[in-house]
Symmetry: C2
Subunit: 209 residues, 2 copies
Amino acid sequence: MKFYDCQTAPSPRRVRIFIAEKGVEIDTVQVDLGQGEQFTDEYRAINPDCVVPALQLDDGSCISEVVAICQYLEDKYPEPSLFGVTAEQRAASLMWNSKAEQQGMSACADAFRNHAKGLKGRAIPGPDSYEQIPELAERGRQRVAAFLEKLEHQLAGHEFLAGSHYSIADITAMIVVDFAKRLKIPMPDDATNLQRWYDAVSSRPSAAA
Amino acid sequence: MKFYDCQTAPSPRRVRIFIAEKGVEIDTVQVDLGQGEQFTDEYRAINPDCVVPALQLDDGSCISEVVAICQYLEDKYPEPSLFGVTAEQRAASLMWNSKAEQQGMSACADAFRNHAKGLKGRAIPGPDSYEQIPELAERGRQRVAAFLEKLEHQLAGHEFLAGSHYSIADITAMIVVDFAKRLKIPMPDDATNLQRWYDAVSSRPSAAA
């Protein structure tokens, strides 16, 4: 099994933290996105979507998409569970992971990729070229801010996003908060529950991954 | 358990088909999105995101996000499996479901919601207002077309998207193809594998759901 990573990118960090929480060691290859290594013929043969993270299995097949990689690792290394143990916990973990992806990560990516000077013509990750849309960068910022408010609301009533268990949803949402910081969208001053949760999840040893 | 549906919308249809494949009956409530029923106080109390589908459990809690609802139903009604049985099958199903969501459904939604006259100020589903971005509608159309090409490529080597088993990924992707048709983005004429697969999945009894 081989994990294709990029140390500086938010999405593969979700998998790095997941692996650290599982306490396993997986052979890791750095793909230098800044140098365009994701577009080489060699990497394209591994993952035609030209994105990281990707997990190559021993039969040569490749799993991309963070939730799929994490589900595979959860199946292979069930302890500690990061999706939850009961059907209700699994549903809540996947629900909040999905919200964090679609309302948080996607919005951050819209804000970043439609604005960064180095990403002209690269507004969508992958092999195809798409021009930046400045209005979309601005809308992304608004949506990120709205999602931080939503996190605060959910965490007012729950220790972790999906309830009382730490899960894949907390990993994704923590990375949304960190991505938002890079975009200079801070947590609201009065978001005391979000801050309490962030302090807890970001002080876990896995967060250094 | 109560399923909040809207008969005319693409996302809840994913769950309707999933339920039909499981062969179970679930108490269903229609939410009339055209009349704005998703914004009523009553529905907001069930799902504050103001979207369908949603599945309310008997304890009053609510699961939203299609993949989470489907995972819950998979746990409760394991046969026939629609996520796959092995770790490798589950990963492939989730991976292609995720690609179909992010590269297919999202792109269709961008194309539709940023263009439809009736959705001014409603470019993103949910309680917050976002203005339409016409350039994003056009980019959405380009991405839908690119995703149909990707489906053709994958299906050239596989009976179903995730391999030899019909899965949640096929449900999502079939609905992308149908959504694309509504947007007048047809399958490419030479996409013989996509057409073969579409004929097979859309003639299953569940597709009428």
